[in-house]
Amino acid sequence: MANERFMQLINELNQATLDGRVRWEETAKEGVFRVGLGEGLVRIQTGSDDEENFCVVVYLLNNQGRIVDELRAWDNGEHYNLLLDLYQKARSSALNIDLVVDSMLSDLKAGRVRDLPSDTQAEDIPF
C-alpha cells in the first residue's frame, strides 16, 4: 500500500512526464520502464495474476535496489486509470514515440517515403 507521499510523487511524476521534464528509460525487461530520481528509482510495469487479471505496478526503489514502497492497481480498481496513464506516458517517453510519430507526420506532410531495403536484396549477397 502506497503512502500519501508516494502518491504525491506519482502524481507529480505523471505531470512531469506529460510536460517532458523527466525522461523514462527502458530496462533489462521488455515493457518495464524506470526513471532515476534523487536517491532512488521509480519503476513501472504491467502484470497479471493466474486468472489473467491485468494490473499496473509502480515500485519505489532506493539506490541499493530495495523496494521501499509499491502501488499496484488492478483493472478498473482504485488508482488504475492514473497508473495506466502514467505507464503509457512512461512507455512513450522511453521509446521516443512522439519523436518517431512527428517524423512520420512530417514525412507524410511533405509526401516523402523512406525506401526500405527489399527482401530480395538480402538474397543477393554473394556469400
Binding site: 533489462a28 525487461k29 521488455e30 532512488g40 519503476r43 539506490n63 535496489g65 530495495r66
Partner: protein, 168 residues
C-alpha cells in the same frame, strides 16, 4: 644602608626576574602545546591516509569481484545453469549495493551502478521464473545485452581504479 632602599631595589629586581621567568615559562609551555598539537594532527592525518588507502583497496577488490561475478552470470546463463546464474546474480547485487553509495564512484557511475542493481533484480526475477518452470528456459537478448552493459560499466570503473593505483 637603609632597609627600605634594600627592600625596594632587590624587590624590583626580583619582580622583573620573576616576570621574565614567567614569560619564558609561558612561552615554553605554548611551544610545547603547539608542538604536541601538530604531532597529534600529523598522526591524525596519517591515520586518515591509512584508512583511505584501506578503503580504496577494499573498493577496488569489490569492483574486481563484481566484474568476475557478472562474467559468471553471463557464462551460466549461456550454459543454461539457472541455479548458479541466480546465485551469482544475488551475490553481484549484494556487492553492488555495498559500493553504490561509495564516494569513490565518480560522475554518473553511481547512477549507472544503481540502474545495474535494478536490471539485476529484473534478470533474477526472470531466472527464478525459469527455475520454477513458469517461463521458457532462455534469457532474452535484451537481458543479455543488459549484462554486457553491466560488464562494460564495471570494467570501466575497474580500469579507472587501476590507472589511479598506478599513478600513486
Amino acid at each position: 644602608m637603609d632597609w627600605s632602599f634594600f627592600k625596594n631595589h632587590y624587590g624590583n629586581i626580583a619582580s622583573v626576574a620573576g616576570l621574565v621567568v614567567s614569560v619564558i615559562g609561558f612561552s615554553f609551555t605554548l611551544y610545547q602545546v603547539r608542538k604536541s598539537r601538530s604531532a597529534a594532527e600529523r598522526a591524525q592525518a596519517m591515520a586518515r591516509e591509512a584508512i583511505d588507502r584501506v578503503s580504496s583497496r577494499l573498493f577496488f577488490t569489490q569492483i574486481t569481484i563484481a566484474v568476475r561475478l557478472v562474467q559468471e552470470v553471463r557464462s551460466f546463463c549461456r550454459a543454461k545453469d539457472w541455479q548458479r546464474a541466480v546465485d551469482r546474480c544475488e551475490q553481484l547485487r549484494i556487492v553492488l549495493a555495498g559500493v553504490v553509495d561509495d564516494s569513490k564512484l565518480q560522475g554518473d557511475e553511481r547512477k549507472t551502478v544503481s540502474k545495474a542493481i535494478d536490471d539485476l533484480l529484473l534478470i533474477m526475477g526472470h531466472l527464478d521464473g525459469i527455475g520454477h518452470e513458469e517461463r521458457s528456459p532462455s534469457v532474452p537478448t535484451r537481458m543479455m545485452k543488459s549484462l554486457d552493459r553491466i560488464v562494460i560499466t564495471l570494467t570501466r570503473i575497474d580500469g579507472r581504479l587501476r590507472a589511479v593505483a598506478l599513478e600513486v
